[in-house]
């Protein structure tokens, strides 16, 4: 426990500070890759909160990313209002959607695999509805206009590679700090108690419905914020790319590989998973076998979870601990 936390703080602080200081020297590719790493670390923290802290396996997080992304894009392109206002609308909408799913699940006793499928069902329904809804551009999506030369990134929440890098780094840092804080806070204890044994926790006075719904809502709002940045980063938003199963799966792979329920797992997971996708792509490309990327990525996933039962972060902690003892 203690090593875990101390190592985490040292490694986390070093990583975030290092990435912030190194920014001017990074080449465009590394910066773009790290931008995705940090963005998915944030997504990972959001799902870690629902999945790792509260034990709700959600396979529909793309829904919240989509809601956040659409809110911001629609507010700015259709109404010409500030993207901050879009966030102000999108995050509560996503939180409400998350809370509604959490409430339904609680009210009707939907758990485990069934909860995962409930989340998929809601997300897929919304994807189909968005695909057929002209107001949100249907499957045609919404394209963001090019930036004006006098663009102020903090006003438009759009900018060049450096802006997105900084924003993603900020989110990853904030997300990790938030989870570290929540883990030691009253609500964090209550969430983990609910995850480990809901009946026992309730018998100890933990208000299960309230806290589970709250976890869903916070997780959804966090994902919506990430979705807004993701939409801006891509410059375009489609129901398929922002609300589809593919994104939902991509969001949860990182935290699971990294170590669910730990504060630094999602960060470590994203640091491995995002470059892994890129490396396997390059591998397929260089071998000239077009399915190789998928084979390589899949095998790597199987190997990693096979060899590291608790995830990457706990394995790192255990490694450092054994080194410590040997000295």
């Amino acid at each position: 426990m203690q090593v875990d936390r101390r190592l985490g703080w040292i490694a986390g602080a070093a990583l975030f500070a290092g990435c912030a200081i190194a920014a001017p020297w990074l080449d465009g590719f590394t910066m773009s890759l790290l931008t995705l790493v940090f963005l998915f670390a944030w997504f990972g923290q959001a799902s870690n909160l629902a999945m790792g802290f509260t034990g709700q396996l959600s396979l529909g997080h793309a829904l919240f990313a989509g809601l956040g992304g659409y809110a911001v894009v629609i507010i700015t392109t259709r109404y010409g209002l500030s993207p901050w206002f879009g966030l102000l609308i999108g995050m509560p909408i996503a939180a409400a959607a998350g809370a509604a799913i959490g409430w339904l699940a609680f009210r009707f006793g939907v758990r485990d695999v069934y909860f995962a499928l409930l989340a998929i069902a809601v997300a897929e329904m919304m994807r189909v509805i968005f695909s057929n809804w002209n107001f949100v551009g249907g499957t045609g999506g919404i394209f963001l206009p090019a930036l004006s030369p006098t663009n102020e990134p903090l006003r438009t929440l759009r900018g060049g590679a450096l802006f997105y890098y900084a924003a993603a780094l900020f989110l990853a840092t904030a997300g990790t700090a938030l989870l570290a804080w929540l883990r030691g806070a009253r609500i964090g204890y209550l969430w983990r108690a609910l995850r480990d044994d809901e009946a026992a926790a309730r018998a100890l006075g933990v208000r299960a419905p309230l806290h589970k719904i709250l976890a869903c809502a916070i997780s959804a709002a966090m994902t919506a914020l990430g979705g807004a940045l993701y939409a801006h980063l891509n410059g375009v938003i489609f129901p398929d790319s922002m609300m589809g199963m593919a994104l939902s799966i991509q969001i949860i792979i990182g935290p699971i590989l990294g170590g669910l329920g730990t504060v630094f797992g999602p960060l470590v997971g994203a640091l491995v998973v995002v470059p892994l996708g890129e490396i396997s792509g390059t591998l397929g490309q260089s071998l000239g076998i077009s399915g190789m990327n998928s084979i390589g990525y899949g095998l790597a996933l199987i190997l990693l979870i096979g060899l590291l039962p608790g995830g990457l972060w706990p394995a790192i902690v255990a490694g450092v601990q054994s080194l410590w003892r040997r000295r």
Binding site: Y189, R202, A203
Partner: protein, 244 residues
């Protein structure tokens, strides 16, 4: 004595066609240790679950401190002052011993530091202070049972429901638990315990309530109850004079 702390009024509970509880009436005054005994399947655990809100009765009412609490969810029941332990211990594996004990305290405080102090107190009460920072996976069975008790205590209950908290313990260990319970009762806590081992019941309880087929068949001091012919017939077997 004033109005009873806990009142069960005509509680029935059916599972399918079987009545686990059949019109049970029970008053529990403030203070003292009451043992709920009876053969397997007599409805003891069902009775606990109904009081604690984990089950709803098919009919009847539960009143606690004058308020009807029938049908309230377990967390609300707990927040009104009824804590329970489970027959099979259910520690939260990801939390340390101290953290396990803190959960109950969050029902009455929002401050982590306060909860930590309360948990430490509860652990001290059951003698687990030395193991406060251990992982629960490393605890022995008696320690886990004590943790279960400490967790319940940290909710600051007025009524404590203990479901076979001494099952599986060696006699010396059980005696230590009895001592703890007596100390708690002396501090004003009302305890209702389900127990199989008659030796402990006789030792710990100030009052014994006997259930059989979901109905109350005897109620009195331990000495009275062991002499009751219906109890002897249904539960204690043919030789009442033998010390159990």
């Amino acid at each position: 004595m004033s109005a009873p702390l806990l009142q069960l009024l005509g509680i029935s509970r059916r599972f399918g066609g079987v009545a686990a509880l059949d019109g049970l009436d029970l008053d529990l005054p403030q203070g003292g240790i009451t043992a709920l005994v009876g053969p397997n399947g007599a409805g003891k655990t069902t009775c606990f679950s109904i009081i604690a809100g984990a089950l709803s009765p098919t009919s009847g009412q539960v009143k606690f401190a004058g308020e009807t609490i029938t049908g309230l969810p377990p967390e609300s029941v707990c927040r009104r002052g009824i804590a329970r332990t489970f027959q099979v211990v259910r520690p939260m594996r990801d939390l340390s011993v101290l953290e396990n004990a803190m959960i109950g305290a969050f029902g009455w405080t929002r401050h982590v530091a306060t909860a930590r102090l309360a948990a430490a107190d509860a652990l001290a009460m059951v003698g687990l202070t030395a193991k406060a920072n251990a992982a629960v996976g490393h605890l022995t069975l008696p320690d886990r049972k004590m943790l279960e008790l400490a967790r319940a205590l940290s909710t600051r209950p007025r009524l404590l429901l203990l479901d076979e908290v001494m099952a599986g313990l060696r006699p010396t260990e059980a005696d230590a638990v009895v001592a703890v319970l007596r100390r708690l009762a002396a501090g004003g806590l009302t305890i209702l315990l389900v127990e199989h081992v008659m030796r402990i019941v006789m030792q710990a309880a100030t009052r014994v309530v006997v259930l059989h087929h979901g109905a109350l068949i005897a109620d009195g001091t331990p000495a009275q109850v062991v002499q009751d012919p219906r109890v002897i017939e249904s539960y204690l077997g043919a030789s009442p004079t033998d010390p159990p």
